[in-house]
Symmetry: C2
Subunit: 493 residues, 2 copies
């Protein structure tokens, strides 16, 4: 290993520590910070981000990368680390500081206006701000695309899931747009009436319950925490993973599944290889892969009939007997599907249709085919076509998500690609692990976790996306395992 | 205001934001972080410290300071800000990076060994590490002293309390060393038997009680928090002050007074002027002044007979009637004095004697008059002289404090100078605020707080130490108000 590479690792480690510090600040902002701290916190975060950006884009970083690339004795992990460092460097240098600043200012402002616009269901309020964000994101996508040799939309996809391309997304999403509507229709007809668990469920008992469940699934509380925040998330760093949940006394079900979803993210972070912590190659492989881990745990494992049987016993043991805790009733609750308006409340059949809509619209917005002013109409038309419902107002329509106001175009597809990958990985795991379902019926997923650690978590960013999928799931990303899973769960019985 | 000064403020603001981020990380380490996060946290903190150090010591910082010093149109706050920036710059540049690093490494190591040495009461284990720390601190003190034109020990005092000098400390401490032993003797003879509050006191009720008391004293929970940690402290930033406490079911009294002490620190931070947040002039005036605020609240206000009368009613209202909650019994508890071995457990009469001992010994260690190897013997001799007791082992002797192993020489005097200043300020406040004691008897200190905000908190670092003391307390720092206070509380009735 030559000195360029060694010096580069040192520099990247500092960058990693800055990002780790930012993760703690972000967690604190959502979980701990009183309102008075808000202004100073914004400045602290902006300062650390700027220092990280300066460190990454410095000429010296480029020289170290180039020097290391000329060194011949690197092993596979080091070469992958160098590849990821180069990717970040090129991406960060592609945008001149003025554009970065303009984007930060425009998205901050647009996010603020969006909160008000959504509250008042007033798209006209948002429109000029969203137009500015679209304009700047388009410009940034062209610059980054130019530097990476990518089409603009690919440059955006690539930010969230490195190596993801529209050519991969299109056929998968076109297939889902055709197959899911009739599947949804058939599944709705099979919804069973469900008893709502009575409650009220004391918050402290819910917390203890979620904590015990997380521990049972493999979350290590010596290297992580569970707290509360307005929106559940998984933050922190791999040796100190911070999961949050939100509890309501009258609604045990949603807090529980949200926490299990975040636990899937957390197990991925916790399983990243210790040797490479803080280096680019040591990070999770991208948003698609991350979402595959949360959905694998939530949708494939925890909403399975086997797990719900286990959960039924645990719930009754902790909260006392309740007819709503019967396994069949838990299935009726957690296998219910509907034509809803809101993405985050959607079941796993309709969710991809919400995503397909956003994928179509964000491409049209960026290409200019769809003027921002016409977004509400296009949204309603798309909802009618894909889901058969039309939002009564923009708050429950095109104003429901923060992604576009915050500048995140190209992010939505990752949710559904993650769902596909989750089904595909779980199918491979079932084939490889004969006693898997019996384990799940006892609330024991240690064998599955070990399999994921080997195939996904422990590989971090060693392999490019497509290679990781092929090696871990046994083939290219595909819709079949996902559709098979939906048919088995929603149409079989 | 010229461009040099404006550019300097920008640069200092970034430094302030980095320090704010560090405050959050340090709070999180003590309050939230699971053990698994420890290694990564150490790296995050070291990285941020290094970035802050690089920013402060950069040539450009020096050029901006020099340029601003040549600008003639600065107001008093700006000039003071510049003075404080110059002080920090000179101090940080006085130490070459190699010495900074050697000190960081030696104190980290010495702290770790100290924990083990204290547990095993084994001074020999600590000795070589403490010798190395003393050697490096001496070298650093010489360098900084050279740069600031100060004697080495003055350079150390000046780090914790800018402008504090041994010439001020010596006569005050020599007087205390003479006056306090007979006063302690007389006060011990007047100790009254005290009932221990029975308990157990549920932890959640204690937390609620402390929280309500803090709010009543003026702590704003919209700009701060109360949490738990192994050692109570006050951290965070002025708009997000983080107080911690430690509760024990069987000991209501110590948690309570410790939390009130930290609340005194917190009210100071919260009262710093908003306009100057994040700039050097906007920070607290030093450790002596900080300690004066915590001791003013704890010792002058909350241990007064008036406040204990109020507290007696509150305790009975929340925890139910208990003969131990009688006002006379609370006074017997909180006015008890003794010849103890441990500084942190000491009452307000014996505490300064613990400090005088450490002040004498640390000067002798630094000058070389006292070899580290002879510290245990010198400690015992000093305890016998000043307090009339001799520790049975080094764990309860010279191994009890973390300060020296962590490199903090010159810090101990601040505690006692803070106690003197607290008494002096409180005497001035009583003269200025006729209804003060009646307010305190109702748990209402708003008039006192307003007075402190005007005289101390709101002035931040505008004035040099001696000027602040003179303007706020009406004269130079003196032992008389403190001795008068002790005589009134412990010898009068």
């Amino acid at each position: 290993m030559g000195w360029h590479y060694a010096a580069l690792e040192d520099r990247l480690a500092r960058l990693g520590h800055l990002e780790g510090a930012l993760a703690v600040l972000n967690w604190d902002t959502a979980v701990c910070m009183p309102e008075g701290g808000s202004a100073a916190r914004g400045e602290q975060i902006a300062t650390l981000r700027r220092l990280a950006h300066d460190l990454l884009t410095a000429d010296e970083t480029g020289e170290l990368i180039a020097g290391a690339e000329a060194e011949s004795d690197l092993d596979a992990w080091q070469r992958a680390n160098l590849r990821e460092a180069r990717r970040r460097f090129v991406r960060a240098r592609a945008l001149e500081p003025g554009l970065v600043e303009a984007l930060a200012r425009a998205t901050n402002r647009c996010e603020m206006v969006w909160r008000e616009a959504r509250r008042r269901s007033d798209f006209a309020l948002l429109r000029p701000h969203l137009e500015e964000v679209v304009r700047l994101v388009r410009e940034a996508a062209e610059r980054v695309g130019g530097a990476l040799g990518l089409e603009p939309y690919d440059a955006l996809l690539d930010e969230y899931q490195p190596d993801l391309r529209e050519d991969l997304v299109r056929p998968l999403f076109e297939r889902l747009a055709r197959e899911l509507p009739p599947l949804l229709e058939a599944a709705i007809a099979r919804n069973r009436p469900a008893l709502r668990p009575g409650g009220p469920f004391p918050l402290s008992a819910q917390k203890t319950f979620v904590r015990a469940l997380m521990a049972r699934l493999g979350f290590d509380f010596r290297a992580g925490r569970l707290d509360e925040s307005a929106h559940p998330f998984c933050g922190g760093t791999p040796t100190d993973v911070r999961v949050t949940a939100r509890y309501r006394e009258d609604d045990l079900a949603s807090a529980l599944m949200a926490a299990l979803h975040e636990t899937g993210h957390a197990l991925y972070e916790a399983g990243l290889p210790r040797r490479w912590l803080g280096q680019p190659v040591g990070e999770a492989r991208g948003i698609v892969v991350h979402e595959s881990q949360s959905l694998l745990l939530e949708m494939q494992v925890c909403r399975s009939a086997a797990f719900l049987g286990f959960l039924a016993r645990e719930l009754a043991a902790v909260f006392g007997p309740d007819p709503a805790f019967a396994p069949a009733n838990l299935r009726a609750i957690w296998h219910r599907v509907e034509r809803g308006l809101i993405r985050v409340d959607a079941d796993e059949i309709s969710y991809p249709l919400h995503v397909v809509l956003r994928w179509r619209l964000e491409k049209a917005l960026l290409s200019g085919d769809l003027p921002v002013a016409e977004l509400p109409g296009a949204w309603s038309a798309g909802m009618a076509e894909l889901l058969g419902v039309v939002p009564p107002d923009d708050a429950r329509g095109c104003l429901q998500d923060i992604h576009w106001p915050s500048g995140a175009f190209g992010y939505f597809p990752c949710y559904t690609l993650g769902a596909l990958l989750a089904a595909q990985l779980f199918r491979a795991a079932r084939a490889a692990l004969p006693g898997l379902e019996e384990g799940i019926a006892r609330g024991d997923i240690q064998a599955l976790l070990a399999w994921l650690r080997l195939r996904v978590h422990g590989r971090a960013s060693l392999l490019p996306f497509a290679e990781l999928v092929a090696e871990a799931a046994g083939g290219p990303l595909s819709v079949e395992p996902f559709l098979d899973h939906l048919r088995a769960r929603y149409l079989a019985a």
